[in-house]
């Protein structure tokens, strides 16, 4: 990546965010953080990000899914790649750890389970960024 990719993370657990952000910072990404869905969506609307890291269970329930739905309706945000990082145990993720799980919320997304191994995290982020760039180029 020639220029620093700008990422946004939306997650209501600051301690967890710290653990993810440290790994991404270290790998040279520029990471912004929002600790609730409202701030997160405002940030998404106000400036450009290359990728979103999204938690599912926030606040009163699956508020992360609401954000993904809103993004889907937005032609620009629908193009943004999303890495869903969730504590919800998807059966698929449980049976085939490390394999790609695409929830299909937006055009380019993947799901990983909390906690995320650093190598897996970095691999998913770079793959998603690349896939989204390729889609844009075509």
């Amino acid at each position: 990546m020639s220029e620093k990719a700008k990422l946004l993370m939306i997650d209501d657990d600051p301690d967890f965010v710290e653990g993810i952000k440290a790994i991404l910072d270290d790998a040279g990404y520029d990471v912004d953080v929002a600790y609730n869905p409202d701030d997160g969506f405002k940030a998404l609307k106000s400036q450009h990000y290359d990728l979103l890291l999204l938690d599912i269970m926030m606040g009163r329930g699956a508020e992360g899914v609401m954000i993904a739905r809103k993004m889907r309706k937005d032609p620009v945000l629908n193009e943004m790649p999303v890495l869903i990082i969730t504590g919800i145990r998807e059966q698929i993720a449980f049976l085939f750890p490390g394999q790609a799980v695409h929830p299909g919320f937006v055009a380019t997304d993947e799901l990983v389970e909390k906690p995320v191994e650093p190598d897996l995290l970095l691999e998913k982020v770079s793959t998603l960024l690349r896939t989204a760039a390729e889609k844009k180029a075509t």
Binding site: D13, D15, F16, G19, I20, I23, G87, L95, K114
Partner: protein, 384 residues
């Protein structure tokens, strides 16, 4: 006793009703009588009695019909049939329709009192069981929710930070790096335990059934082998997978069937001796897909066999061999039963075990399985 048991007697003979009323102590029970089925059923609706005596032979709607209708109104109501023709067949027929017991005419006061007492005991057991089941369901749901969020979230946050620390541990001493690794391992074990536990209590078999579709058992086996291969390689255990074609599809949920097979295979690996083989064999036999998984590991003692499919149980021979909470087989059994299948185990202590899964084939759509390989080997572990 705060609750006075309500008893209803439905009989067309007034003399029976009267004598019953005399025999059954008024203070202890609230007794109501009805002279025919229709009237009796109305009273069942309005009174919700604990125990109902039903005469089998009545003019109008028959005692059998009354039994069925009571069951439809409230299956927890205990019914006892009164029968003038005390043949075994009519009593059996009534019991099949859900009657708890039968009382042959003529009966002595002592017999009526005894059967009343037993019937009411049965009723309180039924009610107690229902209350416990309800309570268990609520607890299960609450507990699953609490465990999944309140327990997993903080552990996840700790682990994520440990991940970050071990990645950036250039300044840490060797001793500290070792400590960090140990912490990661322990938290990982703890999270796995929580997941397994959570799955054991919250797996909802009814919802699995909603997603049933034609599934290839051989495909599930392949996936299960793929997912357990790393563990097999680590223990230098080989897995030989033999499929005797042709094999038809079954109706099921691929993800849970694979999970069941992963559990069985995972156990086989866990309890195998280093360097041994596990044989997986699948064939269609009498309209069922039968898969057997045979290991030559530690085996299970005869006295432990009946318990291994219950939750939180681990056989003596298994305790020394491996960790775990003993839920895998309980979950597996529930998954297989949700598929109308069965699971059996044959084992000898010290010699190994064979688990046999049997699933009914999908009858409506016979299908040719892709792939013609007869016997193939997968996951040859290590150097042996």
């Amino acid at each position: 006793m705060k609750h006075v048991p309500r008893i209803l007697i439905i009989d067309d003979e007034e003399v029976v009703l009267d004598s019953c009323a005399l025999i059954l102590d008024k203070g202890e029970h609230e007794l109501t009588t009805a002279g025919n089925g229709v009237e009796g059923l109305e009273l069942v609706e309005s009174l919700r009695p604990d125990l109902v005596f039903v005469d089998l032979k009545m003019p109008g709607i028959s005692g059998f019909e009354v039994l069925e209708k009571i069951r439809a109104i409230d299956p927890s109501i205990v019914t006892v049939v009164i029968t003038g023709y005390a043949t075994v067949s009519s009593a059996v027929e009534a019991m099949k329709k859900g009657a708890y017991d039968f009382l042959p005419k003529p009966f002595t006061p002592e017999e009526l009192r005894l059967i009343t007492r037993r019937g009411l005991e049965k009723r309180s057991l039924v009610l107690e069981t229902m209350a416990l089941k309800r309570e268990r369901e609520i607890m299960r749901e609450n507990f699953a929710a609490i465990v999944s969020h309140e327990l997993k979230s903080p552990l996840g946050a700790v682990q994520q930070n440990l991940f970050a620390m071990t990645r950036d541990s250039g300044t840490a001493s060797e001793k500290d790096k070792e400590r960090l690794e140990k912490m990661k391992t322990r938290i990982d074990d703890l999270m796995k335990l929580i997941h397994k536990w959570l799955r054991g209590i919250s797996v909802d078999m009814a919802s699995i059934k909603e997603n049933f579709e034609p599934v290839s058992v051989t495909a599930c086996i392949e996936k299960a082998i793929e997912s357990t291969t790393p563990e097999a390689v680590r223990k230098d255990v080989g897995i030989a997978d033999a499929v005797h074609e042709p094999i038809r599809l079954v109706l099921g949920d691929e993800v849970s069937l694979t999970e069941a097979l992963v559990n069985i295979l995972g156990n086989a690996i866990k309890y195998s001796h280093v360097g041994t083989q596990i044989a997986v064999s699948t064939e269609e036999k009498d309209g069922r897909i039968v898969t057997s998984v045979t290991d030559s590991g530690v085996g299970i003692a005869e006295e432990d066999l009946p318990m291994i499919f219950d939750g939180f149980y681990r056989a003596e021979s298994g305790k020394a061999a491996a960790g775990g909470v003993g839920l895998g087989l309980a979950i597996t059994r529930r998954i297989i039963e949700a598929h109308d299948g069965s699971i059996a185990v044959y084992s000898e202590l010290g010699k190994g075990s064979t688990f046999v899964l049997s699933l009914p084939v999908l009858r409506s759509a016979p299908s040719e399985e892709p792939g013609t390989e007869g016997v193939k080997d997968t996951a040859k572990g290590g150097t042996g």
